[in-house]
């Protein structure tokens, strides 16, 4: 008995299965893959084996238990044959948002690869050893089991390179299609973004589930934003409850660079987002916004880390959640100010509305401030809807449910208005309104 318990805690059987899969995929023939990458994968696997699957005893995973998720049993898949029409159907509605690149089970598909600005990671790695060396330099897998898992299965992804002083007119929409028609699948994606100095790019990351099985996306993105460049990343998590995600998006900002990361988690089953921003050039500016709208047994965990490494940078985090049913929300917001990073301004706010007694929120600010001349504020609120506002609206003839929907929509829109891509913003607002009004009928 004791051994079973111990095994459960380290997730040893899961790690064993992962190692078996690794052996099957990579050890036989590394045909054509640069040895740098093969080496990276192997080290990542070893780190994963050393760490094991993090349990709730791990400080960073205290509120988020991976085991019920992993117990579903996922099969590693990479690419495979799919009817182009099936992909078309899923991605066509996204054309409104920008130029769509489809990832099918972790494989870059379609003809978008132009060999210059936008290309598949697999083809880029084959041609570019300098790139191989940079993979993993931002999203390190040391002490990070999920990144280690991803790196061990590093295959493909999107490489976006925006030349200096170039503006991409249309946003790039990366649609991650996970095909769970045959079995539950886990898919690893690795993306690489570089915006040259003075450049501007907008990226939308969205996940789509095919079939009735459960699907888990482990997505890692490394992004460099050059001097005075700007990068927008909108993460749209609006899938069905059988669609799960682990995301690690790590961005480094040069001098006067700016990043805006907006994560909208209004669907899915188990969602853990780990955005990380390093402010490495003075006057860099980071904006991280998140919205959670969770019902049923959904779990959404926003685990942020903002590192102020140099003086005169600003960061702003706003994460809001509306939780209903038996949903769980987690917010862990880390701000780290290095000893030299004087004149830092770092703000963080976490606001939650809990609509049901069985829904829970765990919120934890984590401030590590080693400089003395900084402005840093953080605040967390957990509440219900304002009674005065409810009465005011009802006294004008709005039903209780309508008044609630109106107030919740307003609460949510504080986050969605930060999405600078208007078709994305409009569609998301419409979905949110629909979700909040659907409750009204129930």
């Amino acid at each position: 008995m004791t051994t079973v318990v111990a095994q459960q805690h380290t997730g040893a059987p899961i790690i064993e299965r992962i190692a078996g899969e690794f052996a099957r995929q990579f050890s036989t023939s590394e045909n054509g893959q640069p040895s740098l990458i093969a080496d990276l994968r192997l080290r990542a696997l070893e780190e994963l084996q050393r760490l094991g699957i993090p349990t709730v005893r791990h400080e960073e995973w205290k509120y988020t238990n991976l085991f019920p998720l992993l117990a579903k049993g996922f099969t590693h898949v990479v690419g495979g044959a799919v009817q182009p029409s099936a992909l078309e159907n899923m991605t066509a509605p996204l054309q409104r948002w920008g130029d769509v690149v489809a990832m099918y089970n972790g494989r870059f598909v379609g003809s978008r690869d132009d060999g210059q600005v936008l290309l598949s990671l697999a083809s880029a790695l084959a041609a570019d050893t300098a790139l191989c060396a940079r993979i993993g330099s931002l999203a390190s897998f040391d002490d990070k089991a999920i990144v280690a898992w991803n790196t061990a299965f590093l295959n493909d992804g999107v490489v976006l390179r925006v030349p200096a002083n170039t503006t991409l007119e249309r946003p790039i929409v990366v649609a991650s299609v996970l095909d769970a028609r045959e079995h539950n699948v886990v898919v690893h994606e690795r993306h690489f973004v570089e915006v040259g100095s003075g450049g501007f790019a907008q990226l939308v990351l969205v996940q789509r589930a095919l079939g009735d099985g459960e699907s888990l996306l482990n997505q890692v993105l490394e992004g460099w934003v050059g001097e005075s460049a700007r990068l927008v990343i909108v993460v749209v998590q609006d899938g069905p409850p059988r669609s799960h995600a682990l995301t690690t998006h790590t961005i480094e900002l040069a001098k006067e660079a700016r990043v805006e990361m907006i994560t909208v988690s209004i669907g899915g089953g188990f969602v853990r987002n780990m955005p990380e921003v390093r402010l490495s050039g003075s006057h860099a500016d980071a904006h991280l916004y998140g919205l959670t709208l969770a019902d049923g047994t959904m779990l959404v965990d926003h685990h942020t880390a903002v590192e102020h490494r140099v003086p005169h940078c600003t960061s702003n985090q706003l994460y809001k959640a509306i939780l209903d049913g038996r949903a769980t929300g987690v917010f862990n917001g880390k701000i780290c100010v290095y000893p030299d990073a004087q004149k830092t301004s770092a703000y963080q706010a976490n606001r939650n509305i809990v609509l049901s007694r069985r829904a829970t929120i765990d919120a934890k600010p984590q401030l590590e401030i080693y400089a003395n001349d900084v402005r840093c504020t953080h605040g967390c609120t957990v509440g219900r809807l304002d009674d005065e506002a409810m009465f005011y609206l009802r006294s004008r003839g709005l039903s209780k449910a309508e008044a609630e929907a109106l107030l919740l929509t307003a609460f949510a829109e504080e986050v969605t208005t930060t999405i600078p891509i208007s078709p994305v913003r409009d569609d998301i607002n419409a979905t949110i309104e629909h979700l909040l009004h659907a409750d009204e009928l129930a």
Partner: protein, 256 residues
Amino acid sequence: MKRPILEIRNLHARVGESEILRGVDLVVYPGEVHAIMGPNGSGKSTLASVLAGREDYEVTEGEVLFDGKNLLELSPEERAREGLFLAFQYPVEIPGVSTATFLKTALNELRKHRGLEPLDAMEFMTIMRQRAALVQIDPAFFSRSVNEGFSGGEKKRNEIFQLAMLEPRLAILDETDSGLDIDALRIVADGVNALRSPDRAFVIITHYQRLLNYIVPDVVHVLYRGRIIKTGTKELALELEAKGYDWIKDTAELEA
């Protein structure tokens, strides 16, 4: 003889342990304007809140008929749909909800109740512009969040604008005049006067006689310690203004 729009009989209400309304009687007919005056803390806002359906107050005795229906068993929204309107003493700020969205939802809700089709965007805008002009509200306000960042006077004008939009059968104005300068007071009064009609009644709660120079009441009541202790014509308001509330308090104590 017309049926009263509002009949309050022996109304008692409390908050927690303290009884605030202690037997209020009031009958209002369509077309009438009643003023309710009284010192601070008499229970004027409590009466308005009980009528609008605020849940903090418990009615322990008495009854209220609105157009012949038992008002007290209706939810706040049902009361509004039946044609009751309260202009709040302290209008609530609602960040993120635009005045236009709010009023469109409210108005269409009332229309649905009356068996009317919802208004389309164009029709709604036309009505909004027209009614806003009545209280000199700038159409720029339509896209702003309800009452957010409004001055005291703007909030009060916004209440009368909503009244004009929703066209209630009975409007209760709770100290709409307080905090208004003379120009704003005139705007509000002109708006109210324009909305007077034979089918519509007003109950105007005020601490001062000033507003009643502009909106001339048919009946004036004095509420004191949870009871209406005196009822008269508009001259009663002038008398109160001249003699002060102490005069009425003394009278009340004599009668008690």
